[in-house]
Amino acid sequence: MIGTEEDVTQDLTRAVGGEHVSSRPSDVMFYARDCWARRHLMPDDPPRHPVWVVWPGAASEVARVLQVAGRHELAVVPYGGGSNLVGGAGFGDDRPVLVVDTKRMSRVLELDETSLIVQAQAGITGGDLDEYLRVRGLFVAHMPTSLSQSTLGGWLATRSAGAFTSRYGRIDRVCMGITAALPDGSVVRTRVAPRRATGPDLMHLFLGSEGALGIITAAHLKVVRVSKVRVWLAGGFKELSQAVAAMADIMSSGTRPVVASIADPVVALRHSGQPSFMLVCSFEGDGELPVVQRDEARLLVLAHGGAYLDPAAASGFWTARRNDVFGDIIARAESRVIGEVDIGADWRHLAMVADDARGRLESMGCGVTMELGFFGLEGGALLCKWQLPEISDPEDVGLRQDEALAIVLDAARRGGGAVAHHRGVGRQRSAAVRAQLGNRFDLFADVKRQLDPKGLMNPWLTEGA
């Protein structure tokens, strides 16, 4: 750091106004972490926390804050809803840290109802954005479980996925352009067009960069009109591999399901009364088309040996899933003995990866449930949840959790899949992801050096590269 803490505080005050700068213990302790369970299990010793938290109100203020950070060579951690489950907003070195909370930038800047595009500031929570749109008969085509807690900026920074991803793609397919403040204190805006052929799509530099290249301050997103008709399909399968094969066919059939999931028998039993793997799809639109889509998808369920289940089982599953609010996930994480992680695999390996992870977790004594979802044309994600067996020594819990996590990530690797699907990389699995990225990670670090030569932004993400 260059200069004293007082100098920095003064400069930050000039940048955003005194009421939007804090070094109060209650603030810096709160912003010391996100929802990564491991921070609860194995807290830093001594505890680390930022020295300042600032709440800029506009892109220009973020730029000024980054100029201050540059002048004093601080480490900067962008912060949204703090709902990250993998330690995306945490600290890794001894440099004084400045947290930039984007949540004061929470306005909808423009709604173009003719083109169905909304521009909003990055700090808006999904819940607020969704509410703004719903009263106008619209919704944002992105529905993560963390909707009401997480922010638009957080979605983009982690390339998030949600319940509607199978139809509309992950957030990087919903986003049409971004505004970002760069570490040199400039503001850059990528232009919006339905499609273009004028070079790389430059917004992708920042999507998924987890705050290492700059701070996203606003974005244009596609929105969708709420449709009149929604019909459900539920299919029961004895084997997971059959359900996966049926879903693969549905995804390439042109039926375009909006909600698409495969539930574990344990979960399915609650809704269908059958202890079988349950395929769930919704089809949405106007008139007869959703019904025809459902009927076509049903044929594919039958073709793969599935049994046709009461559609109420599917809607029941969806309602339960929607009610599984983010607080429940946090509660499970804080229970210490429960863990979960998202991994990805292609159609040919999804069932294999699931069986592999389940088998090895069970031999550890864990109870395991799986949900498959977030599908694309080539495969999808596996949400793997486990509960550790009773462990006599509480000191042991952290290590056992690490072991369980390693098992699942290893299963993904063995199946040629992704060790991080949609919840970000953070500190939880940066080593595993680095190994998987190979020279792409070095390229990322090269880009970071260009945009952030002083290494201000989330510096430990690329440490050692």
């Binding site: 499609r195 992708h204 290492a212």
Partner: protein, 522 residues
């Protein structure tokens, strides 16, 4: 420096890297690879300059390792490389200059893995578009990518320029179909993007390399999505009095989540072209043929000289022609604007989707013209870009400009370009490649002059005027042809300050600037 090495020395050095039959400095090869299908080059050709700046050497790598060695050599000698596929680009993106080496990738044309269960295929960049679809068709699969250049373009070229096919409304553009790439950077490094790093830390490199037109790396392999071939196609034509009404219909069904494979709305004059030879034999058609007969064959190959003279005479007064098309033509033809919509897929879905679109179009004021216009379109779908218009032999030119914007500004963009350009050339347009958020506009313009030198001047003036109008109206200067040389002067207006990010990527990936320099305003 490259200039200090003679052509023969370059060939010798390259001969030690590649096999003899992979290197050529023969005049016919150098002339053949001196340009792509940028119409400006064709005007130059008619001006007696068939190869204004031939490359020094042409090479044909056969493996990724060949490309790596080429790039290493190029970096060492600071010799620029120009990647080359089918040479069907229309923006000068693959045009080399003296001293440069053309890297033709057409020998890397194999399918490496056809992975049906995962709906994907790994393919080399030199694969020809039509051959590719034929091979996929044998397994009952399709990419759904049908550019009108499909006979003469390659997979690598599609990716380099962010190509769009005629069914893009359903299947997406090539950037929507690609899930991974293998790229050799300007440092000779091999980067594999995409799966399994689908959601990993850092940028989506696939989306940064796609569309970079060979300036950031040479694509040596691609993983593309494939889908079951459609079992049924349904086409229907509709008439609208005005372009604006047709556009409103398209916007409505696209925003209802419907996904037609083909959407084409022709403005008044383009409608006449689109329906020429449709054989309806109506009175109106006959009348139009009386008035504009020769012009209806504007884009047909090799006009007889007699027709060329008449065409020249007509094109020399573009203002008059444009007015005629605007005012008189709809009255003469009584057909206004034609909208063609196609759906495809599993039979029940294709039909149900067509029915829903039908309802929406009628509700928006469209007149049902039945299946004929669509079937006619399908028959002639590739007849546009494969052969060149005879108008070039008369000192004139035909070119196309494909731009796009969001729905709120689409009509404004259309009018702005027409107004700006109509005093100079004859101009018509159709709207294809529709999205829930907006649509592209495909302008065709034809100009005439007394000699090729004048023709070049007019050509440049038209493009500058048109692109300035596009950026002023908030449109993108290219929807799917790319930038190359022809549009690079407008890259600043196109990207604003974010262009610096592209230049930053260039510094990271190609620090010695050996990859396709002089393009894209880098």
């Amino acid at each position: 420096m490259a200039d200090t090495i003679s052509i023969e020395a370059k060939a010798r050095q390259l001969g030690s890297i590649l096999k003899d039959d992979q290197v050529s400095i023969l005049a016919p090869d150098r002339v053949a690879y001196s340009r792509d299908l940028w119409p400006r080059g064709l005007i130059e050709f008619s001006a007696g300059r068939p190869a204004p700046s031939p490359p020094d050497v042409v090479v044909w790598p056969e493996t990724t390792q060949d490309v790596v060695h080429l790039v290493e050599w190029a970096a060492g000698t600071e010799t620029p490389l120009v990647p080359y596929g089918g040479g069907s680009g229309v923006c000068g993106g693959a045009m080399p200059r003296r001293g440069q080496v053309v890297v033709d990738l057409k020998r890397m044309d194999r399918i490496l893995e056809l992975d049906g269960p995962n709906h994907r295929v790994r393919v080399q960049p030199g694969m020809n578009g039509w051959t590719f679809e034929e091979v996929l068709g044998r397994s009952n699969l399709t990419m759904g990518h049908f550019p009108s250049s499909i006979f003469c373009s390659t997979v690598g070229g599609w990716l380099a320029a962010r190509s769009a096919g005629q069914a893009s409304t359903r299947y997406g553009k090539i950037e929507d179909m690609v899930s991974g790439l293998e790229v050799v950077t300007g440092k000779g490094e091999v980067i594999r993007t995409g799966n399994p790093g689908a959601a990993s830390l850092g940028p989506d490199w696939t989306q940064l390399f796609v569309g970079s037109e060979g300036t950031l790396g040479i694509i040596t392999e691609a993983t593309l999505k494939v889908l079951p071939a459609p079992e049924m196609r349904v086409y229907r034509g509709y008439g609208f009095d005005r372009v604006s009404a047709g556009l409103e219909a398209i916007r409505r069904f696209m925003q209802k989540g419907l996904l037609p494979s083909v959407v084409r709305l022709y403005d008044e004059f383009d409608t006449v072209i689109a329906r020429s030879g449709a054989g309806r034999g109506s009175e109106a058609d006959t009348l139009v043929k009386e008035v504009m007969g020769r012009l209806t064959h504007l884009t047909k190959p090799m006009l007889p000289w007699v027709k060329v003279a008449a065409l020249r005479a007509a094109l020399s007064k573009p203002g008059w022609l444009n007015k005629l098309a605007d005012g008189l033509l709809p009255k003469l033809t009584g057909q206004g604007c034609l909208l063609v919509v196609g759906t495809e897929g599993r039979p029940r879905l294709a039909q149900a989707e067509a029915d829903r679109i039908h309802e929406e179009v009628l509700r928006a004021g469209g007149r049902d013209l039945g299946p004929r216009p669509g079937e006619h379109w399908e028959k002639h779908r590739y007849s546009v870009s494969f052969k060149q218009s005879g108008v070039f032999y008369s000192g004139g030119f035909v070119d196309t400009m494909e731009v796009a914007t969001t729905w709120d500004g689409l009509l404004r963009l259309y009018e702005a370009v027409k107004t700006a350009v109509s005093p100079l050339v004859f101009i018509m347009a159709h709207f294809s490649h529709a999205y829930p958020e907006g649509c592209s506009i495909y302008f065709t313009f034809a100009g005439s002059s007394d000699d090729p030198e004048q023709g070049l001047k007019l050509y440049d003036q038209v493009w500058n005027t048109a692109l300035a109008a596009v950026t002023r109206a908030g449109g993108t200067i290219s929807h799917h042809h790319g930038v190359g040389r022809s549009k690079q002067a407008f890259m600043v207006e196109e990207h604003g300050d974010s262009l610096e990010l592209f230049r930053m990527l260039k510094r990271v990936l190609d620090p010695k600037e050996i990859l396709n320099p002089g393009k894209m305003s880098l």
